[in-house]
């Protein structure tokens, strides 16, 4: 393994371990998503959802849970002095970006593993659309993780970071949401899943991931020098 890849694996393992240690965050976020779904049930006064409404409820819930949870990863790091240790290590700082993104993707995937089936149980009539939904979820997670890591690593050193991350992150993920809901809506249609423009939306998601992955990779160095 090249030193970079070894460093990547080490940081990733450390992040996951620290996340498993601070177990509070993930179950809390999962619980938050389920409660949000209940609020949607009563807010919309619907017991069954399909098409664009289903896609909207699902993605709004996932998005808000993600935005709330994103701060947690960096807060823990900073409080444990993890940043200083990383800065002293003789590795390319952008590797840290990759590791953080990977950790955040795994975190989001774990969240969805709980939230999506419960969503299906609460609101969907059939589980046909859920298989291809996995592809949408994964690509969206990547994009969310890239921008989330970028923004929260800037906000971690600021005051009012709990407000700052959602404030800046939400407009940034609008194109992501457009593509994700665009792909999800036909999957959850009333008559059964359809794949209208599915490939196109997946490509848009991929493009988003690529652009913000590259931007994050390029600028992350500047965020850690002090």
């Amino acid at each position: 393994m090249t030193p970079s890849r070894a460093a990547f694996a080490a940081i990733l393992a450390k992040d996951l371990r620290s996340e498993l240690r601070t177990l509070q965050s993930l179950p809390a976020m999962a619980l938050f998503s389920v409660t949000t779904l209940v609020i949607f049930r009563f807010g919309l006064d619907r017991t069954s959802l399909s098409g664009s409404l289903a896609a909207g409820v699902l993605w709004a819930t996932l998005l808000f849970a993600a935005v709330l949870g994103i701060n947690r990863l960096f807060v823990a790091e900073r409080e444990e002095g993890g940043f200083d240790a990383i800065r002293l290590a003789p590795i390319d700082r952008s590797v840290l970006f990759g590791a953080k993104v990977a950790a955040l993707v795994i975190y989001l995937a774990a969240l969805e593993l709980v939230a999506v089936p419960i969503f299906a149980v609460f609101f969907l009539d059939g589980a046909g659309g859920l298989g291809p939904l996995v592809a949408v979820l994964l690509l969206a997670d990547l994009g969310l993780a890239a921008t989330g890591t970028l923004i929260s690593s800037m906000a971690v050193n600021s005051r009012a970071r709990d407000l700052l991350v959602p404030l800046v992150l939400l407009p940034l993920v609008v194109p992501l949401m457009i593509a994700a809901t665009g792909a999800t809506e036909p999957l959850l249609a009333l008559g059964g899943p359809s794949y209208h423009r599915f490939g196109t939306w997946l490509m848009v998601l991929g493009l988003y991931d690529l652009i913000f992955g590259l931007v994050g990779y390029a600028v992350f160095d500047f965020l850690l020098e002090d």
């Binding site: 970028l150 800037m154 050193n157 009012a160 194109p175 457009i178 652009i211």
Partner: protein
């Protein structure tokens, strides 16, 4: 020396605006569909185009700042974004007036360009609270540049995504600069575009000059060991 060239620039701006506005109201023919209301476009669209270019320039200056660590690029980036946000307010209000005149509603989701612009505006509006939240000035400048670069990359992606989200059922109900425009309209439009571009440049230079003057006063105070006044802004970058 930021003030140098400001006078000829402002003169050129005023002249160009006068020429362009005359063309808009006395030379360009009336639109067949929209009638007199179409005249709003001559101010709305150039403002939008110039604002978007301004945002991207803010990102370019930010890249220069990150690479050279010269604070003046941070000032350029900040002011570019500042003026573009103000132009953005004008874009959204004139867009709403056009929507009300055309469709009777102050806002329509059918117009992908306007919706995209709203999202871009919302993002850049967070630039100020973002800067304000970071206390250390060095870090503030650096992070603001990262923000500007990220936001600059966001702009084209956002326009593409919103456009794709538009249902194909609602066709665009007007023709902007994209073809279908008679020559006289195009001329008036291009002149307005140049005029608004000059206006943007003049205002940016104007604000940079003001900042520079403030910076010189501070420098003078420090040289005289005089107490520094309490008027320094927390978020605006200092120029010296």
């Amino acid at each position: 020396m930021y003030g140098k060239g400001l006078k000829p620039l402002s003169i050129a701006t005023v002249a160009m605006l006068a020429v362009a506005l005359s063309l808009v109201f006395f030379y360009a023919p009336l639109d067949g569909d929209q009638g007199f209301i179409q005249k709003i476009f001559y101010v709305h669209v150039p403002l939008a185009i110039v604002a978007l270019i301004g945002f991207i320039l803010g990102g370019v200056f930010a890249i220069a700042h990150l690479r050279t660590n010269n604070r003046k690029w941070d000032a350029y980036s900040y002011v570019s974004i500042h003026i573009s946000v103000i132009f953005g307010v004008a874009v959204l209000i004139t867009g709403a007036i056009w929507a009300k005149a055309s469709w009777g509603h102050w806002w329509v989701w059918d117009e992908p360009t306007l919706v995209s612009f709203l999202i871009v505006f919302l993002l850049y509006a967070t630039y100020y609270p973002f800067r304000y939240a970071i206390e250390d000035r060095d870090r503030q400048a650096r992070y603001a540049s990262v923000f500007a670069v990220t936001a600059g990359a966001f702009v084209p992606l956002n326009f593409m995504a919103v456009r794709m989200a538009q249902s194909l059922v609602h066709p665009r109900t007007f023709a902007t600069a994209e073809g279908g425009m008679p020559g006289e309209m195009m001329l008036a439009f291009l002149c307005m575009l140049v005029a608004i571009g000059l206006l943007w440049t003049t205002l940016v230079k104007f604000e940079l000059t003001a900042k520079s003057a403030s910076g010189q006063v501070k420098r003078l105070r420090r040289a005289l060991d005089a107490p520094v006044g309490g008027g320094s802004s927390r978020i605006a970058p200092e120029v010296s």
